[in-house]
Protein backbone atom coordinates (compact mmCIF):
# COMPACT_ATOMS: atom_id res chain seq x y z
CA UNK A 1 0.00 0.00 0.00
CA UNK A 2 1.34 3.43 -0.93
CA UNK A 3 0.22 6.48 1.07
CA UNK A 4 0.17 9.86 -0.60
CA UNK A 5 -1.09 13.17 0.71
CA UNK A 6 -4.56 12.72 -0.68
CA UNK A 7 -5.26 9.07 -1.19
CA UNK A 8 -4.25 5.53 -0.47
CA UNK A 9 -3.06 3.55 -3.47
CA UNK A 10 -3.45 -0.21 -3.33
CA UNK A 11 -1.33 -2.50 -5.45
CA UNK A 12 -4.53 -3.76 -7.03
CA UNK A 13 -5.65 -0.25 -8.07
CA UNK A 14 -6.57 -0.05 -11.75
CA UNK A 15 -6.03 2.93 -14.03
CA UNK A 16 -7.68 3.81 -17.31
CA UNK A 17 -4.90 4.74 -19.68
CA UNK A 18 -5.53 6.35 -23.04
CA UNK A 19 -2.83 5.60 -25.59
CA UNK A 20 -1.57 7.88 -28.34
CA UNK A 21 1.23 7.45 -30.87
CA UNK A 22 3.85 10.17 -30.79
CA UNK A 23 6.70 9.73 -33.21
CA UNK A 24 7.88 6.13 -32.69
CA UNK A 25 6.68 6.03 -29.08
CA UNK A 26 3.33 4.97 -27.72
CA UNK A 27 2.40 7.28 -24.88
CA UNK A 28 -0.15 6.55 -22.19
CA UNK A 29 -2.07 9.19 -20.25
CA UNK A 30 -4.09 8.53 -17.11
CA UNK A 31 -7.71 9.33 -17.98
CA UNK A 32 -8.12 10.81 -14.48
CA UNK A 33 -6.02 13.75 -15.69
CA UNK A 34 -8.13 14.44 -18.76
CA UNK A 35 -11.20 16.64 -18.68
CA UNK A 36 -12.28 16.07 -22.27
CA UNK A 37 -10.97 15.23 -25.72
CA UNK A 38 -12.04 16.94 -28.91
CA UNK A 39 -10.91 17.08 -32.49
CA UNK A 40 -8.64 20.05 -33.20
CA UNK A 41 -9.91 22.53 -35.75
CA UNK A 42 -7.57 25.42 -36.31
CA UNK A 43 -10.35 27.91 -37.16
CA UNK A 44 -12.41 27.09 -34.06
CA UNK A 45 -9.63 26.54 -31.55
CA UNK A 46 -7.41 29.48 -32.45
CA UNK A 47 -8.30 31.40 -29.30
CA UNK A 48 -7.65 28.46 -26.97
CA UNK A 49 -4.64 27.85 -24.78
CA UNK A 50 -3.06 24.99 -26.71
CA UNK A 51 0.32 23.34 -26.96
CA UNK A 52 1.51 20.66 -29.33
CA UNK A 53 2.95 17.57 -27.64
CA UNK A 54 6.20 17.83 -29.66
CA UNK A 55 6.71 21.32 -28.22
CA UNK A 56 5.80 20.19 -24.74
CA UNK A 57 8.29 17.31 -24.94
CA UNK A 58 10.80 19.35 -26.94
CA UNK A 59 11.07 16.58 -29.56
CA UNK A 60 13.52 17.15 -32.39
CA UNK A 61 11.72 14.73 -34.68
CA UNK A 62 8.89 16.17 -36.76
CA UNK A 63 5.51 14.68 -35.99
CA UNK A 64 2.85 14.12 -38.60
CA UNK A 65 -0.42 15.04 -36.89
CA UNK A 66 -2.78 13.08 -39.12
CA UNK A 67 -5.79 13.62 -36.94
CA UNK A 68 -4.95 16.13 -34.21
CA UNK A 69 -7.02 16.05 -31.05
CA UNK A 70 -7.05 18.36 -28.06
CA UNK A 71 -6.67 16.71 -24.67
CA UNK A 72 -7.99 19.23 -22.13
CA UNK A 73 -5.99 18.73 -18.94
CA UNK A 74 -7.69 18.78 -15.54
CA UNK A 75 -6.58 20.90 -12.60
CA UNK A 76 -4.77 23.51 -14.68
CA UNK A 77 -5.88 27.11 -14.54
CA UNK A 78 -6.40 28.67 -17.00
CA UNK A 79 -7.33 25.48 -18.94
CA UNK A 80 -4.65 24.22 -21.28
CA UNK A 81 -5.09 21.70 -24.07
CA UNK A 82 -2.43 19.37 -25.37
CA UNK A 83 -2.57 18.60 -29.07
CA UNK A 84 -1.86 14.97 -29.81
CA UNK A 85 -2.70 12.55 -32.57
CA UNK A 86 -6.01 10.79 -32.31
CA UNK A 87 -6.33 8.44 -29.32
CA UNK A 88 -5.68 4.78 -30.10
CA UNK A 89 -7.40 2.94 -27.27
CA UNK A 90 -8.29 3.09 -23.61
CA UNK A 91 -6.84 0.26 -21.59
CA UNK A 92 -7.50 -0.71 -18.02
CA UNK A 93 -4.28 -1.62 -16.27
CA UNK A 94 -3.40 -2.65 -12.74
CA UNK A 95 -0.63 -0.59 -11.17
CA UNK A 96 1.16 -3.93 -10.66
CA UNK A 97 1.76 -3.88 -14.42
CA UNK A 98 3.54 -0.53 -14.29
CA UNK A 99 7.31 -0.79 -14.28
CA UNK A 100 9.47 2.05 -13.00
CA UNK A 101 11.89 3.60 -15.45
CA UNK A 102 15.46 2.25 -15.36
CA UNK A 103 17.75 4.41 -13.17
CA UNK A 104 19.70 5.82 -16.14
CA UNK A 105 16.49 6.97 -17.82
CA UNK A 106 15.23 8.44 -14.55
CA UNK A 107 18.49 10.31 -14.11
CA UNK A 108 18.80 11.70 -17.62
CA UNK A 109 15.26 12.06 -18.88
CA UNK A 110 14.58 15.77 -18.61
CA UNK A 111 10.95 15.31 -17.69
CA UNK A 112 9.53 14.16 -14.37
CA UNK A 113 6.38 13.79 -16.39
CA UNK A 114 7.65 10.51 -17.85
CA UNK A 115 6.90 8.32 -14.87
CA UNK A 116 6.64 4.67 -15.84
CA UNK A 117 6.30 2.01 -18.48
CA UNK A 118 3.79 -0.70 -19.25
CA UNK A 119 5.42 -3.52 -21.20
CA UNK A 120 3.55 -5.94 -23.38
CA UNK A 121 6.22 -8.20 -24.85
CA UNK A 122 8.42 -5.95 -26.95
CA UNK A 123 5.85 -3.16 -27.06
CA UNK A 124 5.81 -0.40 -24.51
CA UNK A 125 3.47 2.29 -23.36
CA UNK A 126 5.44 5.18 -21.88
CA UNK A 127 3.33 6.81 -19.19
CA UNK A 128 3.17 10.59 -19.18
CA UNK A 129 1.77 12.70 -16.36
CA UNK A 130 0.29 15.55 -18.37
CA UNK A 131 -0.27 17.78 -15.33
CA UNK A 132 3.41 17.54 -14.41
CA UNK A 133 4.31 18.08 -18.06
CA UNK A 134 2.33 21.28 -18.37
CA UNK A 135 3.38 22.61 -14.99
CA UNK A 136 7.05 21.92 -15.59
CA UNK A 137 7.65 22.95 -19.17
CA UNK A 138 8.43 25.96 -21.23
CA UNK A 139 5.93 25.65 -24.02
CA UNK A 140 4.52 27.70 -26.80
CA UNK A 141 0.83 28.29 -26.55
CA UNK A 142 -1.45 28.62 -29.54
CA UNK A 143 0.04 26.55 -32.37
CA UNK A 144 -1.14 28.94 -35.09
CA UNK A 145 1.15 31.62 -33.69
CA UNK A 146 4.02 29.22 -32.90
Amino acid sequence: MIHSNHETIHRNTFLNIITVNVSSAQLGVNMNQILSIQQFQSSKNDHDQLVYIHNALNLKEKIDYKSPHIFWVKNIAPPIGLILNEPQQIINISIKQIKPLPPIIKKYCIYDAVWGVVANGHEFIVLIDVIRLINGMKYTLNPERA
Binding site: V22, S23, S24, A25, Q26, L27, L57, N58, L59, K99, P100, L101, P102, P103, I104, I105, Y108, C109, I110, Y111, A113, V114, V117, A119, G121, H122, E123, F124, V126, I128
Partner: protein, 170 residues
Protein backbone atom coordinates in the same frame (compact mmCIF):
# COMPACT_ATOMS: atom_id res chain seq x y z
CA UNK B 1 63.77 -51.40 4.85
CA UNK B 2 65.03 -48.99 7.51
CA UNK B 3 64.74 -45.28 6.88
CA UNK B 4 68.08 -43.62 6.32
CA UNK B 5 69.10 -40.49 8.04
CA UNK B 6 72.31 -39.81 6.27
CA UNK B 7 73.72 -37.12 4.01
CA UNK B 8 72.37 -38.73 0.86
CA UNK B 9 68.91 -38.90 2.29
CA UNK B 10 69.11 -35.24 3.21
CA UNK B 11 70.07 -34.44 -0.36
CA UNK B 12 67.19 -36.56 -1.68
CA UNK B 13 64.77 -34.81 0.64
CA UNK B 14 66.02 -31.45 -0.51
CA UNK B 15 65.51 -32.52 -4.16
CA UNK B 16 62.03 -33.79 -3.32
CA UNK B 17 61.06 -30.49 -1.67
CA UNK B 18 62.43 -28.55 -4.65
CA UNK B 19 60.44 -30.72 -7.10
CA UNK B 20 57.26 -30.31 -5.08
CA UNK B 21 57.71 -26.56 -5.10
CA UNK B 22 58.20 -26.62 -8.87
CA UNK B 23 55.09 -28.77 -9.31
CA UNK B 24 53.09 -26.26 -7.28
CA UNK B 25 54.35 -23.47 -9.50
CA UNK B 26 53.24 -25.40 -12.58
CA UNK B 27 49.84 -26.14 -11.05
CA UNK B 28 49.09 -22.44 -10.45
CA UNK B 29 47.51 -21.15 -13.63
CA UNK B 30 48.34 -17.72 -14.81
CA UNK B 31 45.58 -15.21 -13.94
CA UNK B 32 43.15 -14.74 -16.77
CA UNK B 33 40.87 -11.86 -17.70
CA UNK B 34 37.67 -12.56 -19.57
CA UNK B 35 36.91 -10.13 -22.37
CA UNK B 36 33.91 -9.58 -24.62
CA UNK B 37 35.22 -8.54 -28.03
CA UNK B 38 32.87 -6.35 -30.04
CA UNK B 39 32.79 -3.98 -32.96
CA UNK B 40 31.74 -0.37 -33.34
CA UNK B 41 31.93 0.40 -37.04
CA UNK B 42 35.19 -1.04 -38.29
CA UNK B 43 36.95 -0.76 -34.93
CA UNK B 44 37.29 -3.62 -32.48
CA UNK B 45 36.95 -2.99 -28.76
CA UNK B 46 36.44 -5.09 -25.64
CA UNK B 47 34.54 -4.95 -22.38
CA UNK B 48 35.70 -6.76 -19.26
CA UNK B 49 33.64 -9.95 -19.15
CA UNK B 50 32.99 -9.45 -15.43
CA UNK B 51 30.95 -6.33 -16.29
CA UNK B 52 28.78 -8.03 -18.93
CA UNK B 53 25.81 -9.97 -17.56
CA UNK B 54 24.17 -10.97 -20.83
CA UNK B 55 24.49 -10.61 -24.57
CA UNK B 56 21.11 -10.30 -26.29
CA UNK B 57 20.19 -10.27 -29.96
CA UNK B 58 19.04 -6.93 -31.30
CA UNK B 59 15.42 -6.10 -30.72
CA UNK B 60 13.39 -2.98 -31.25
CA UNK B 61 14.33 -0.34 -28.72
CA UNK B 62 11.43 1.80 -27.58
CA UNK B 63 12.00 5.53 -27.67
CA UNK B 64 11.46 7.46 -24.44
CA UNK B 65 10.71 11.18 -24.90
CA UNK B 66 12.98 13.60 -23.11
CA UNK B 67 16.11 11.42 -23.07
CA UNK B 68 19.43 12.70 -24.41
CA UNK B 69 20.88 11.21 -27.63
CA UNK B 70 23.21 8.93 -25.68
CA UNK B 71 20.18 6.91 -24.53
CA UNK B 72 18.58 4.87 -27.32
CA UNK B 73 15.56 3.88 -25.25
CA UNK B 74 14.29 0.85 -23.37
CA UNK B 75 13.90 -2.90 -23.88
CA UNK B 76 12.07 -5.64 -22.02
CA UNK B 77 14.39 -8.27 -20.58
CA UNK B 78 12.17 -11.03 -19.21
CA UNK B 79 9.82 -8.52 -17.59
CA UNK B 80 12.48 -6.08 -16.43
CA UNK B 81 12.81 -2.77 -18.23
CA UNK B 82 16.40 -1.93 -19.12
CA UNK B 83 17.78 1.23 -20.67
CA UNK B 84 19.94 0.95 -23.80
CA UNK B 85 22.85 3.29 -24.33
CA UNK B 86 24.00 4.59 -27.69
CA UNK B 87 27.72 3.84 -27.52
CA UNK B 88 28.29 5.45 -30.93
CA UNK B 89 27.23 8.79 -29.48
CA UNK B 90 29.21 8.28 -26.27
CA UNK B 91 32.38 7.47 -28.24
CA UNK B 92 31.61 10.21 -30.77
CA UNK B 93 31.39 7.75 -33.67
CA UNK B 94 29.08 7.78 -36.64
CA UNK B 95 25.86 5.94 -35.89
CA UNK B 96 25.14 2.76 -37.80
CA UNK B 97 21.85 1.13 -38.70
CA UNK B 98 21.23 -1.97 -36.57
CA UNK B 99 21.64 -5.25 -38.45
CA UNK B 100 21.07 -8.91 -37.56
CA UNK B 101 24.65 -8.89 -36.20
CA UNK B 102 23.88 -6.08 -33.74
CA UNK B 103 23.79 -7.08 -30.09
CA UNK B 104 22.63 -5.52 -26.84
CA UNK B 105 25.15 -6.22 -24.10
CA UNK B 106 23.68 -5.91 -20.62
CA UNK B 107 26.37 -4.32 -18.48
CA UNK B 108 26.52 -3.71 -14.75
CA UNK B 109 29.03 -1.71 -12.76
CA UNK B 110 28.90 -0.02 -9.36
CA UNK B 111 25.23 -0.88 -9.00
CA UNK B 112 24.22 0.67 -12.33
CA UNK B 113 22.82 -1.64 -15.01
CA UNK B 114 22.08 -0.84 -18.63
CA UNK B 115 22.11 -2.29 -22.10
CA UNK B 116 24.70 -1.08 -24.58
CA UNK B 117 24.00 -1.48 -28.29
CA UNK B 118 27.05 -2.63 -30.27
CA UNK B 119 27.39 -3.43 -33.98
CA UNK B 120 28.45 -7.04 -33.33
CA UNK B 121 29.92 -9.27 -30.65
CA UNK B 122 32.88 -11.08 -32.16
CA UNK B 123 34.07 -13.31 -29.36
CA UNK B 124 34.28 -13.95 -25.63
CA UNK B 125 37.87 -14.81 -24.71
CA UNK B 126 40.12 -15.38 -21.71
CA UNK B 127 43.40 -13.53 -21.88
CA UNK B 128 46.36 -14.00 -19.49
CA UNK B 129 46.97 -10.85 -17.48
CA UNK B 130 50.46 -10.77 -18.96
CA UNK B 131 48.84 -9.99 -22.32
CA UNK B 132 46.93 -6.99 -20.99
CA UNK B 133 48.88 -3.78 -21.43
CA UNK B 134 48.54 -0.20 -20.27
CA UNK B 135 46.77 2.20 -22.56
CA UNK B 136 48.60 4.23 -25.19
CA UNK B 137 48.55 8.00 -25.43
CA UNK B 138 47.84 8.10 -29.16
CA UNK B 139 44.28 6.80 -28.77
CA UNK B 140 41.39 8.59 -30.43
CA UNK B 141 40.38 11.44 -28.06
CA UNK B 142 36.74 10.23 -28.26
CA UNK B 143 37.59 7.00 -26.45
CA UNK B 144 40.78 7.80 -24.52
CA UNK B 145 38.89 8.59 -21.30
CA UNK B 146 37.19 5.17 -21.31
CA UNK B 147 40.32 3.07 -21.88
CA UNK B 148 42.77 1.98 -19.21
CA UNK B 149 44.13 -1.10 -20.91
CA UNK B 150 44.61 -2.70 -24.30
CA UNK B 151 45.24 -6.23 -25.49
CA UNK B 152 45.91 -8.18 -28.66
CA UNK B 153 43.14 -10.02 -30.51
CA UNK B 154 43.91 -11.82 -33.76
CA UNK B 155 47.13 -9.85 -34.08
CA UNK B 156 45.49 -6.46 -33.63
CA UNK B 157 45.43 -4.09 -30.70
CA UNK B 158 42.03 -3.90 -29.03
CA UNK B 159 41.06 -1.18 -26.57
CA UNK B 160 39.32 -2.39 -23.42
CA UNK B 161 36.51 -0.01 -22.46
CA UNK B 162 35.79 0.46 -18.78
CA UNK B 163 32.03 0.22 -18.19
CA UNK B 164 32.20 2.19 -14.94
CA UNK B 165 33.76 5.08 -16.87
CA UNK B 166 31.08 4.82 -19.56
CA UNK B 167 28.36 4.99 -16.92
CA UNK B 168 30.14 7.82 -15.11
CA UNK B 169 30.57 9.91 -18.26
CA UNK B 170 26.94 9.88 -19.38
Amino acid sequence: MQPYNDHTEKILNAIKIERQANEKKIAVKEDQVELVIFKIGSLTHAFYGADIKEILPYETIAFVPGCPDIIKGIINVRGDIESVLNIHKILQKEESIPTRRSRITIAQSNGIKSGILVDSVEDVISVPTSEIFGSISTLDPGIRYFVDQITLYQGQFVTILDISKLFKKI
